[in-house]
């Protein structure tokens, strides 16, 4: 008790931040209980407490609805494809940059590669829409010149996921490469020198020295990706999709948004959100445990 009194200054410092976490994080967790109730959007705060408990009704409605498999499948497919292409891309990019001998050139290319990271999804979506516009879009018109047919890329189920994955890679590749380049910069140059004396070429050195040296970082980053498997890119999809591609583009988050905030089915949407949060929690927890077991520190 005396010790706590001695440290009172630090508790005062921590208090505002802790109150923030209680109000804006722990209260919503308790609020997720509306998933087990039937609340009406027009009853206000009192209605929240008065609403009848309905058990797992909303969860059952979700799992038995026609959307269930689509939404889960889309989330996993989009997220999985983003990992498949978006995870190795920055590693390869970093390996290539690492081979550039002229420092100034390397720095310029690095800086340019960060550019997409600093642009909002609203602007990115605006540029994608402009480039792929059915009439007047640079990409669409160029393809039209060769094939004579104009494709409505953003409204076509066959192309939409590809556009999501491509724009995701475009936006993240440069920025994600930073951590790998940082790991590469701490590799002992003596390793390369002795390899060179043994007659290894650059490709062999990249394969046998650079890659193994950053393996730990690669594994940690991969686990982090797996932990976030259910984050398929909410804002990106919300800005780009349309009813004609819902079948392939609707993910858990967009479904929650439409059911909850547009259709005002608060309890149902909260149930779907809670369903996701629980699975995400186990994914993150497992990923962190694995990372811990691999050595040194976990993800946090």
């Amino acid at each position: 008790m005396q010790k706590i009194w001695k440290y009172r200054f630090y508790y005062y410092l921590a208090l505002p931040g802790l109150i923030y976490f209680i109000i804006f994080h722990y209260v919503p967790m308790a609020g997720a209980l509306i998933a087990f109730k039937d609340i009406s959007p027009f009853d206000g705060l009192q209605g929240f407490f008065d609403a009848p408990w309905v058990g797992l009704k909303h969860f059952e409605r979700f799992t038995s609805s026609v959307y269930f498999y689509d939404v889960i499948e889309n989330t996993l497919i989009i997220s999985g494809l983003k990992i498949l292409f978006g995870f190795p891309a920055p590693i390869i990019f970093a390996l290539l940059l690492n081979e550039v001998l002229r420092m100034s050139l390397k720095r310029v290319m690095q800086t340019i590669s960060y550019l997409p990271h600093f642009i909002s999804w609203v602007v990115t979506a605006g540029m994608i829409t402009a480039l792929l516009a059915t009439s007047g879009g640079l990409i669409t018109e160029t393809i039209n010149d060769f094939t004579g047919s104009s494709i409505n890329f953003l409204g076509n189920k066959d192309y939409f996921v590809g556009i999501l994955v491509t724009s995701h890679v475009w936006k993240t590749i440069g920025w994600s490469s930073i951590i790998y380049l940082a790991a590469m910069s701490s590799i002992d140059p003596a390793l390369y020198e002795s390899a060179r004396i043994d007659g290894a070429n650059r490709l062999q050195m990249a394969w046998h020295i650079t890659l193994p040296s950053i393996m730990f970082v690669i594994v940690i980053m991969f686990l982090l990706e797996i932990g976030n498997l259910l984050e398929a890119g909410f804002e990106q999809i919300l800005l780009l999709y349309s009813p004609s591609v819902y079948k392939v583009a609707d993910i858990i988050d967009t479904f929650v948004y439409r059911e909850g905030l547009l259709a005002l089915k608060y309890s149902f949407a909260a149930a779907v959100g809670l369903f996701k949060a629980v699975i995400a929690f186990f994914l993150l927890y497992t990923a962190n445990r694995l990372a811990n077991r691999l050595g040194q520190t976990g993800l946090w």
Binding site: K3, Y7, F9, Y10, Y11, L13, A14, P16, G17, L18, Y20, I23, F24, H25, V27, P28, M29, G31, I34, L96, E99, V100, M109, T111, I112, L115, F118, I119, S120, W121, V122, V123, G126, I128, A130, A133, S135, G136, G137, L138, T140, E141, I173, I178, A182, N201, E235, L239, D253, V256, G260, L261, Y266, A269, A270, G273, A277, A280, F281, N288
Partner: protein, 292 residues
């Protein structure tokens, strides 16, 4: 030996070539948008979308944006307010909490840190968050734009790690000199923490500049709509009639060109600033990545 030298050169060309193509692909969308924003209706119609560079530069689209738009000016102001006020509060609250929980022998330090950490792996979901902001009557106020995201868990951990790695000797020396905890924080710790403060501050600032979704659900009426909301609204319109009546102009810019100008107009500040601030960001990633 000579052939090995040749393959080396060959390697260099291949690698630099691939990287140059990649680098160009990062820039290409911006070049196309910039060019589109600089042409007139006549040229647009004539070239039918094949616009990599403008043949004849026309500033009509920008004239409209600059000259007549109260909406855009106001949106810029809101975004500016959001970035400054939001970043300031974010930094203030993140720093105080991180510094307190960085005290190695603070009682209950571990459970308190876990209390924050747990919110990073589990959350109540979008709907309860939205209802909370609604119940607190924060909707359509400036507070809705930064209070619900006051402290970011990652940035808190980065800062806490930074504070924990400040050499203890420095603190001990100040204690021996009779400095109070407030004094130590202000005269010893904060001056040492400027790099991490700058980094985290910039992380928050860029977030506030670019954030769209929460603003779109919390700010639905009134004149507090930030840039990204207005931008989204205008980009989504097929024509821009809602903004300006352009039909009376002699050479109206095409909708595409006006939209492109809008993108450039809202992106230029960050395009100018980012090359200078990116090294702080890179530093931040390193601090976060190389955990203490």
């Amino acid at each position: 030996m000579k052939s090995q030298y040749k393959t080396e050169i060959f390697y260099n060309y291949i690698i630099v070539g691939v990287l140059l193509i990649l680098t160009l692909s990062f820039l290409l969308p911006f070049i196309v948008v910039l060019s589109t924003s600089l042409i007139s209706e006549a040229e647009w119609a004539e070239r039918g979308g094949h616009v990599l560079y403008p043949k004849k530069i026309s500033f009509v689209a920008y004239d409209i944006l600059f000259g007549k738009s109260y909406v855009l000016f106001n949106a810029y102001q809101v975004t500016f307010l959001r970035v400054t006020l939001g970043t300031f509060c974010n930094l203030l609250f993140t720093t105080t909490l991180a510094y307190a929980l960085a005290q190695r022998d603070l009682p209950y330090r571990i459970p308190l840190t876990f209390f924050v950490f747990f919110t990073m792996v589990f959350n109540g979901g979008l709907i309860p968050q939205f209802l909370l902001v609604d119940f607190l009557n924060l909707r359509n106020t400036i507070f809705a734009l930064f209070v619900p995201t006051l402290i970011n868990g990652w940035y808190f951990l980065i800062m806490r790690n930074f504070f924990m790695n400040i050499p203890k000797d420095l603190i001990d020396a100040a204690i021996i000199d009779g400095a109070s905890p407030v004094r130590i924080l202000i005269s010893v710790v904060l001056p040492l923490s400027m790099p991490v403060m700058a980094t985290i501050g910039l992380f928050y600032a860029v977030y506030h500049w670019n954030e769209w979704f929460y603003a779109s659900i919390y700010i639905t009426e009134g004149n507090l709509k930030p840039m990204q909301i207005i931008l989204r609204g205008l980009l989504n319109q097929a024509t821009m009639e809602g903004m300006e009546n352009i039909s009376f102009m002699e050479q109206p810019p095409p909708g595409a060109s006006l939209r492109a100008a809008l993108i450039i107009f809202s992106t230029v500040p960050i395009l100018i600033v980012y090359p200078f601030i990116q090294r702080y960001f890179v530093k931040g990633i390193m601090i976060g990545g190389v955990k203490g």
